[in-house]
């Protein structure tokens, strides 16, 4: 893995191949819960193609970012719900 990217998910460092999406980093860091639904249920990705909005997380302080459509970048801070 020459071109790998290291970022942090909920403060935990994780290294993924270049080009990987944020959803990949979240799973690789060991998290299943991406967000809490409006009634507090745990949710993770569904469609994998940017349509369902279930994989939304906070990236670099920006809310409601679809993790399956966002490429990882070095030093990125990703926050899931708890």
């Amino acid at each position: 893995m020459n071109d790998a990217v290291t970022l942090r998910v909920n403060g935990k460092p994780v290294t993924v191949p270049a080009g990987a999406m944020v959803s990949t980093a979240i799973a690789a860091a060991g998290f299943d819960l991406f967000r809490r639904s409006v009634t507090g249920q745990p949710r993770g990705p569904l469609c994998g193609m940017g349509i369902c909005f279930e994989c939304r997380v906070t990236v670099g302080g920006r809310q409601h970012v679809r993790s399956c459509q966002t490429a990882c970048a070095s030093g990125m801070e990703v926050q899931t719900d708890e």
Binding site: V38, R62, Q63, H64
Partner: protein
Amino acid sequence: MNASFDVAIAGGGIVGAACADFCSAAGMRVAVVEAGPIGGGATAAGMGHIVVMDDSPAQIALTERSRSLWMALARELPADAEYVTAGTIWVAADAEEMAEVERKRALYAGIGVRAEVLGPRQLSEAEPNLRPGLAGGLLVPDDGVSYPPCAARFFLERAQARGAVLLRAKAVELMETGIRLAGGEAVAAGAVVNATGAWAPELTPRFAVRKRKGHLAITDRYPGFLRHQLVELGYLKSAHSTAADSVAFNAQPRRTGQVLIGSSRQFGAEHAAIDQPILTRMLERARAYMPPLADLTVIRCWTGFRAAAPDKLPLIGPCAGRPRLLLATGHEGLGITTSLATGELVAAHLSGRPFAIPPEPYLPSRELEAEGDPLHE
């Protein structure tokens, strides 16, 4: 369809539903005729701002009475009516508008409406996302916010619990003796109320209610971004002109954490499609007041048609020469607020009981001069 009713109401928007609520509470046998969803017209398109407005003494009386009815009802409203006493802040951009704040405060004090003047610092503490440099504002803490379609359904359900009947049909003709439905049958009733909003003139021609199109945009959920309903005082200069298309900054915090962004006013636009140039102007106006809005995500936009009367007062009461045919329309942008007082007035007209506020300013028989091109000649 032989049942006879004391009153048949055409229109299941929030005004029709409130009329059904008050009429049934007064002991009348009520029918509501609505083919579409309850609260599916202007009710669904509106913001749901419960606000005291002071454009004229009659408007103050109606909105103040109605807001107090909402406040009294607050505890009974179901959760999905999303009633929140968010308060309104009238935002003043400059010294001229601050003078208006002071005038408004004095007026509200005179009628017992709580209001508090905010200086520039208090304003930015109350709403940190407003741009710096604004002159101040007037906080009206008891104004509220509601989700109108569910409030309308609640009013109608209360009426239904008292025996009111909802007829899922289209009204095609209103008579003093009842409503003719699209299928040809008639609903016989002792009186008829036209509460079909901007479509009222199609059923009761020859009065000057026109469609005034509006746009709204709603964001994803950003809890805490906005706390009060914000309305620019420039509203008075722009939106209240009846001639030209206009936009004004108007932002509302929903209980969901969503931000509802308005507003626009257009005459002569009959098509419900989003009008991109006016949407652009509306959003730019909002950004000018609240720059961080730019980064929020809009998930939906829509339009609706306000029923606008030329003197900015609704038409509530019997038609001239047709005492059993009542109108309850022309509420323009205030139909959610004034729905309850409208229902109360209609019920008083029909039952002969005392009026809570003087009914005369809203009578359809008042002198109305249509501005611009009237819908019906």
